[in-house]
Symmetry: C2
DNA sequence: TTGTAGGCGTTATCAA
DNA sequence: TTGATAACGCCTACAA
């Protein structure tokens, strides 16, 4: 049995209300008594029972992180950032693998309405009207990580995808590439699909390089779709010297396709990815990629959430974190 | 505000105890009333407030999973198994990244003593006396996943590492290899270090193949240590035709070393790994490996934990799950 | 078979 | 500044 507020009160020879005050608003208690209580708390190792406070409708010291799939290294690392901050704040984080499934999402959300959480971090998927409506019902702060909330006025932490993709294009061009293919995310994905493709194309255009529709193949960010996309791309444009993939997993897929076809990467075809997941340095040749500060995104999103939980009026300022190109071995310098 | 048991009672025109009974032991209520209550529950969308029941019965509907690092794909997948079962059981799971750090482990444990959890799954690390003592203090069921509990009588779910390593050896031998190196886990790791090395060596011996100490290098299961180990191994025994690595990450590291040295895998040197993490199929050539049913290990461990939570006297039967060799492209047939 | 009442540990209100 | 007390929602003796 854990010590309760009564045990502390008895030990310190005060009433339970005083103990409660010491815990919640220490300034309202005369120093002498406060010290006695503090000492008793220390001695007994007292900590408020979260269920009792929860019942009283106070904080649950629990936040939820809604992510597509923890098995995906990108999300795993982002989640790690969230978790580390939550731990610092002595909060628990409930992990929700949505598998991008609407039903599953709703199931979790209705669960949270009952169970009560203090806040929610929604990761990576595009926010729909349905999502937004459900968030509102929750009545707790919501922060977005690695996805955009502009449209709904939701605070977010992400990277500038457009600019990052644009930088990838510049990098390829500076390395002498002119005939460049793109493996994009879904054409209707407003987060990592549209902006990355647009950023890349616009940069090409700025260099006076036309970029036709046949130089793009679409995937779903995973290895297999990258493999497939590369097959298509190579089928229609064998003259390509470089490919930009909107995710590292797709880049790896593309690379696998090429290598298994006996093509040499990067000598014959260069590849640049996006994300900088841990695997990217493990393959050979090691993948050159646009790095997102994934872990940091998780951390900042969590920090922002706790700030808002602590102070609900706080108009959270969304954050756009920097990206950088990690140069490894998959881009050939043709100059 | 969510509907409470009182709302349901009023709506169904019965007392709150009747409602409570309908929820907890439906058989004890006359069918007629039961139906009325059920209907009211349905109508109002009533669900018991977990804080209230938690306060009363001190069941938290929360388990903890203690893993080294969620960022590691092997653990991520195992964790996914745990989480899926927990969700089925309407439980939350708190994730604990120990980073193999003793202090961190203790911090979590003392936290749980306060916060209360219904059970704990301890993943992968060897159980020490200190661990065991701490588990006992917790007073809740503990189940081990991917590690051994024989010594302390703790129930576990794992694979037969000795046999699996032995199979790896046979596989290499059947493919005509005679000069084989091993990248082992730490020499003092009783879980995945000692048994895998022993199983491998014994199998070699059974085929009449001597296996000297210089044919072994030790790593710590991660990519970099595999890379390093391969460098050493190759330095002392350049005549090797095959290498067994005690983890896929190390296998990938070894492969990277060889490829970056211009060696051809598998033509010149074959490699077989252990785990079958998702990355292993993404590299080229795709890694041949001994597959552990990781996800299943997580699921079974969680299922076992809930069984024990439900019935504490239940003498949980430890589980040894099957392994299999997943043949891909890194082992050359020399016959 | 059903209902009443007490208690789980906290916090907030109100009096002292 | 402090203390007594009433909720919060649920479960389960115990009484009817």
């Amino acid at each position: 049995m854990n010590p309760t507020i009564h045990d502390v009160a008895r030990q310190a020879n005060v009433s339970i209300s005083t103990v409660s005050r010491v815990v919640n608003q220490p300034l309202a208690v005369r120093k002498e008594k406060r010290d006695r209580v503090l000492q008793a708390i220390e001695q007994l190792g007292y900590e408020p029972n979260p269920f009792a406070s929860g019942l009283r409708d106070r904080a649950t010291k629990t936040i939820a992180a809604m992510i597509p799939d923890i098995t995906n290294p990108f999300y795993a690392e982002l989640f790690r950032g969230i978790e580390d901050i939550a731990r610092e704040q002595k909060n628990n984080v409930i992990i929700c693998n949505t598998d991008q499934d609407e039903a599953r999402f709703l199931e979790y959300m209705s669960y949270f309405k009952k169970k009560k959480i203090d806040g929610l971090i929604f990761v990576s998927a595009a926010v729909t009207d349905a999502h937004h409506a459900t968030f509102a019902e929750l009545q707790v702060p919501v922060v977005l990580a690695a996805t955009d909330g502009e449209r709904f006025g939701l605070p977010y932490v992400k990277v500038n995808d457009y600019a990052a993709a644009s930088d990838a294009a510049s990098f390829l061009i500076k390395n002498g590439h002119r005939s460049i293919g793109v493996i994009s995310g879904p054409a209707d994905d407003p987060i990592a699909g549209i902006p990355r493709l647009a950023g890349f194309r616009d940069a090409l255009a700025a260099y006076g390089l036309p970029h036709g529709a046949n130089a793009v193949a679409y995937g779903t960010y995973d290895f297999d779709s990258g493999y497939e996309a590369m097959r298509k791309l190579y089928g229609t444009m064998p003259e390509l010297t470089a490919v930009f993939a909107a995710s590292d997993a797709m880049a790896l897929g593309a690379m696998a396709f090429l290598q298994r076809r006996g093509m040499e990467v990067p000598r014959q075809i260069s590849i640049i990815g996006f994300d900088n997941i841990s695997l990217s340095r493990m393959v050979t040749p090691a993948l050159t990629t646009v790095a997102q500060p994934v872990y940091e995104i998780g951390k900042q999103a969590a920090a922002m959430l706790f700030r808002r939980i602590g102070n609900p009026q706080d108009e959270a300022q969304s954050l756009v974190l920097g990206h950088e190109i990690v140069v490894r071995d998959t881009v050939w310098n043709r100059n």
